[in-house]
């Protein structure tokens, strides 16, 4: 009898082990499939993006990598007949725009998060949290429509007020405003979580030592949460760098000349890829993969840089 029982028990465990093994294989293959897509996508972009630099593009001519990275005109000469593409000025303006957008969205986002997490009364905080989360989930095209319908007009009126002839409001300023609006909710949501997870004991200690509420919020709460807040900034930058649709509606499609003039037109790496994509062929199509490749590199480098900074910021502790 007891031997029988033992047998059953043994059988059960071996079946359990098989199920364990099976599920391990299933989970692992799911992971491999999803992870391999990153490599497939990156690989295809890499292969297609390199084509314009290594082949003669069906007689049009090889694109010079150096000229591509440093030039000041998107395309010199006739489309489909020239290989003189360059995105040097676009790389710079993309980074410039991202930085400006962050300069607006970061302080606003973090202060909003601080208000929701620490200052606002509970019911108001609850409502605000829903509002911000809804904003964060609004698709970018909606922000783009808002930009094209409202912000362009505001920027146009603003520039005519200061006596500057704007090009229908299509400008760096409009792009920055649209991107700031889009990234504020992202930054707010993540910083708010970081701020809320600060140990209340730290905060109470600060208050007990005689610091005012505002002093505590800025000097203790925010510095304790800075690692999380930095993550929020990284995600915000990611969203700014990658946004195409909304930006292309207000950028104006600049094709040459680097300009830091806030009221002049601009282009970003994403808009130059998007414009004309649906209609074009040959080298003019392939070159967009090259732009995508450069964009991926820009994002990768920015992330590495930001993570390095984050690690340095993260180890600095609050003064006890």
């Amino acid at each position: 009898m007891s031997q029988n029982l033992l047998k059953i028990k043994f059988n059960n465990t071996s079946r359990g082990k098989i199920i364990d093994k099976l599920s391990k294989i299933v989970f692992m293959s799911a992971t491999i499939i999803s992870a391999s897509f990153i490599f497939i996508i990156a690989g295809i972009i890499l292969i297609r993006g390199v084509v314009p630099f290594v082949t003669d593009n069906l007689g049009v001519g090889r694109v010079s990598l150096f000229h591509f990275l440093t030039g000041d005109v998107w395309l010199i000469g006739e489309t489909f007949a020239s290989s003189l593409y360059s995105i040097g000025f676009i790389i710079v303006s993309t980074l410039f725009i991202t930085l400006l957008a962050l300069a607006i969205s970061f302080p606003v986002g973090v202060l909003t998060a601080l208000f929701i997490a620490k200052i606002a009364p509970k019911p108001i905080a609850k409502i605000l949290r829903v509002v911000i989360e809804t904003l964060a989930s609004i698709p970018s095209i909606v922000f783009g429509l808002f930009g094209a319908g409202v912000i362009l007009k505001l920027v146009y009126d603003f520039s005519s007020l200061i006596g500057y002839q704007s090009k229908g409001g299509n400008s760096i300023l409009s792009v920055v405003i649209v991107l700031a609006l889009m990234t504020i909710p992202t930054i707010t949501t993540i910083s708010e979580v970081a701020i809320r997870s600060v140990d209340p004991a730290v905060e109470q200690g600060s208050l007990a030592l005689g610091a005012s509420k505002t002093q505590t919020n800025f000097k203790v709460v925010l510095s304790s949460a800075k690692s999380g807040i930095f993550t929020a900034a990284i995600l915000g930058i990611g969203r700014s760098l990658g946004e195409a649709t909304a930006v292309s509606l207000v950028a104006g499609g600049r094709r040459s000349g680097l300009s830091f003039d806030l009221l002049d037109t601009t282009s970003t790496l994403t808009t130059i890829m998007l414009e004309g994509l649906k209609e074009t062929t040959g080298i003019d199509y392939d070159i967009r993969f090259s732009v995508g490749l450069i964009l991926m590199m820009v994002i990768l480098l920015t992330n590495i840089l930001l993570n390095a900074i984050k690690r340095r910021v993260g180890v600095v502790h609050v003064k006890e």
């Binding site: 395309l75 489309t79 005519s160 090009k167 229908g168 414009e275 209609e279």
Partner: protein, 315 residues
Amino acid sequence: MKKILSMIVMLFVGASLVACAEKTTTVSTSSFDETKSINVYTRDTTSGTRTGFMEGIGFAEAATNDSVLADGFLIKDNTGILTTIAIDEYGIGYVSLSSVNSSIKGLQFNGVAPTEANVVNDTYALKRPFMWMIRAEGDYPSQNVEDIVKAFVAFLGTTDGGDIINNQGAIALPSTTTWDSIKSNHNICIQDNSSVTVRFGGSDSIQKVAQALTAAFMPKCGNFVAEHDHTGSSDAYKRTNDPAIKDTSVGKDVGFASRNFRGSELDVPEVRRGQLAWDAIVAIVNLNNPLVNVTAEDLKKMYDGTYKTWSEILG
């Protein structure tokens, strides 16, 4: 804390009041300043509308080349040009006639207003014809193909075909016949044609219109298979009627051209070629702009940068 809060609230109220003030001032001072520069709006180099426009104003080299355009031009899509011209008092752009609305001003071209009637009666000149051409009788892969092609050409002249053309942004020639009233002349369409392939080609500007037409016509004519390969207007003649090419692998049964036939193309008898539609393009400006009429010369000078300010064209 309350003090800081109330101060923030006050700041917001103040800011919104300033915003209101801005709006009222711009509305009251909206007189047109001729000394301002012209902002040139264009489609990107892949656009068929851009090709049509640039060729229409005698600036064909700008169709696919950004380098020859005036400095500081803006690239927008069709809707983008419409919405920004509605804002930008000093901009000039162009859109296809079908998208002109009351938020902007469509300019007269050589003194003729951009209306559908003027396009159809051939007085409005900033336009190009969409033409078709078919193979000679008995020169098709099979009798079935020939019959389907003839039915298709008949379909082009019906109100059903016209609706499809208009939906694609072109302007169909006026017609009162419906497909239902003439389909009895085309018995081929009653039988099952799912094994018959008809080859369409020619102008790539017409590709979208042509594909919409065949997509609508296939179920009306026994589900024949339409094969589209659009390479350019001159291939409309070459691939259907040029003895050296028409029987090679690139040969077509129906060819389209987005310009009038010319030279040896006109040797093809008139029953085997014709027009299906007009593609009209309109130069547009802001409603505040006093400009009402332009010539091809004016537009070319604005787009190549010869005219830099509005006083040069208005004065």
